[in-house]
Subunit: 211 residues, 4 copies
Amino acid sequence: MTTQRFGRSPGRPKSAEKSVSTKESVLHAAASLFLQNGFQKVSIDDIAKEAGVTKASVYYYFGSKAELFTETMIAMMKRIREQIAQLLQADTSLYERLLAVAVAHLRSTATFDLEGFMRESRTSLSEEQMEQMRLAEEGMYECVEEAFLQAIQEEDIPEVNARFAAHSFIALVRVGNYRQPDGSFFFETTEEAAAQIMSVFWNGFFSSPAS
Amino acid sequence: MTTQRFGRSPGRPKSAEKSVSTKESVLHAAASLFLQNGFQKVSIDDIAKEAGVTKASVYYYFGSKAELFTETMIAMMKRIREQIAQLLQADTSLYERLLAVAVAHLRSTATFDLEGFMRESRTSLSEEQMEQMRLAEEGMYECVEEAFLQAIQEEDIPEVNARFAAHSFIALVRVGNYRQPDGSFFFETTEEAAAQIMSVFWNGFFSSPAS
Amino acid sequence: MTTQRFGRSPGRPKSAEKSVSTKESVLHAAASLFLQNGFQKVSIDDIAKEAGVTKASVYYYFGSKAELFTETMIAMMKRIREQIAQLLQADTSLYERLLAVAVAHLRSTATFDLEGFMRESRTSLSEEQMEQMRLAEEGMYECVEEAFLQAIQEEDIPEVNARFAAHSFIALVRVGNYRQPDGSFFFETTEEAAAQIMSVFWNGFFSSPAS
Amino acid sequence: MTTQRFGRSPGRPKSAEKSVSTKESVLHAAASLFLQNGFQKVSIDDIAKEAGVTKASVYYYFGSKAELFTETMIAMMKRIREQIAQLLQADTSLYERLLAVAVAHLRSTATFDLEGFMRESRTSLSEEQMEQMRLAEEGMYECVEEAFLQAIQEEDIPEVNARFAAHSFIALVRVGNYRQPDGSFFFETTEEAAAQIMSVFWNGFFSSPAS
DNA sequence: GATGAATGAGCCTTCATTCAT
DNA sequence: AATGAATGAAGGCTCATTCAT
């Protein structure tokens, strides 16, 4: 009911000077927090605080938490996809290009693994938002798939199920990111991890079956 | 690592008046709900309702939501682990035994992939609870790792990083569970999926490098 | 995110001794506030405060603000209806019984006029809730209508549109409750108001047309 | 009570570039929305959207929501009052003039009934704004009251409490606008409704008491 | 004259948790 | 063993209002 107003306050503050666009900071903060803690655990307040703006400002740019999440995730996947795509366009052998992708991904904190995020946010996103996320995810895989399809066409590698190969490749790279209970990785250096992973992958798909 | 339990009497319970004990129904309901919706999204009320008891009853048996979650997850992982262990003890070749594990897992709804669950619940569980979950997860892998170590010792397979192999194996099996955006899997039948996956895995680790 | 809990707090308080049922106090507070300020302006917090309980307690008994509002209003209308019904069952002439109703209503603060409440809450209530309110409102009128129908059947009064008469009667009584800008009513005493109103109503419906 | 306006130039505006001034569209949108949904439920954003302008523009013309509301309502009441006044100046019998007013109002969507609006907005308007609204409301009634006073002076009708008669008249007309739960009105046509209402009103006030 | 950006305050609702019985 | 009642703390979202341009 709160009948009387008092104090003075809402409204845009006198502001000092703009730096990075507010929207950008929000997206940035959201990405960081969502990535670390998942959808549910992160509150809009958390994001606002991290971005140094008010909750209402977040809502000025994003209609809902689900929307912000979707947008954030899709942006991230797009970025990953582009990075991969670029690495895969190098003028070297497929093996070397994949190796480069593996190295890059083992170094990044971003995650290929969206399954967890999808499951967690499933019931909170609209059907359309889920669809958009699925497509963005697929985009990352397709990008690797293309490389296989092209190599097959150019007869650099034998014919295989390219999509399955792409997913397997990424699944194996992800293994390299696994932290054991004591916090250590399987391999000492990123390079060694990438090398081993590539070796397994390549033999798995392109060597003649072990007799 | 003697599986020492505490409290509640060992051996067969005296009577079975309540066909299913309240605690059991709660655990069951919790498992089902947590698995589907993750930690945060499931409320104690949800679980109580699903189990047909009151919220307070849940608290009678489990000190907190985190505790219930941990217990649930660990129980599930133990079950998976035992199932795997059993399949791996068959009196057949390693290849065949792994194939059986692959088939079994492709059929089950339970998930090997705990990363998502871990990330989501991370900040809500106590350090000890996290540790327990990590150990239980590790248990699942160890069980596969053992099989490799033994085969190596018996010189059935060349020497490889058994732990890395175990994780890779499971990662590949998980690929077989991936649903494409249109809802379909990569392979038509579970058997074909398992066969392909095993082929890739086996060649990857045990064939001589493709020249 | 708010990781650590601190302080100690939720849960049922140690309590001293129960007095009136919590639910009752909430209903009472809600009736009083809604009646004075309408649906939108009253917050659940206001009601909780007025009832001396916490907001969460309100929700323990009522699923939503709309539900509480509906329940409150319907209860009030039922009470009014019963009061009217009782007065109309007296063993006197119809004229005298209506006069009694007029007096009673001019004295009460409760309102016959739900139109305002309906319009205000329209978009916030479910279709079903609106329907329930409409029925309860109708109940109040029907109760008066019955009296007319019966009187017609017993040939105490000529045949008229009983429903229209009931609504007109109540509309006129409401006029007696009108406060002029300076705060005063049209008539000095409740009795005089009732007498004048009844005279107008009765002549309006049951006198032979002024030639 | 010279209708003294302030600021903005009197007389015909210089040009009509903007076919409808922004202020006008806002007032129009506000009237429509407030009338349908009441004060609280309508947001400035809603009004701005409906008017096709920005929220800030609304504030450019109106200092606050309460002010906009008051202005809107008063304008509406003035319009109603003028319409009534005009109909009441016709050169026919009082009975016929009132009948015309009844018909006109039964056809319009605008509401005589401001009680709901007043109650709802009461705590949000300043004392002065409330006063203005009350006066405007009173204006509508006064206009009818005048007609009675004049008729009394000219001995066309017996002496009655003119103010009470005016309110009663309007209350009865409002009954004709009542929608039953099934959505229908009491009478089939507007004309019949008006005729019945007038009959009741006229007999009520001007017939000799039913013996 | 008009508007984009921003915000403080509040509101409805949910939830894990506790206590007395 | 089980539960009904109660609550503090958030959390998502809306909104009137303000300021700089």
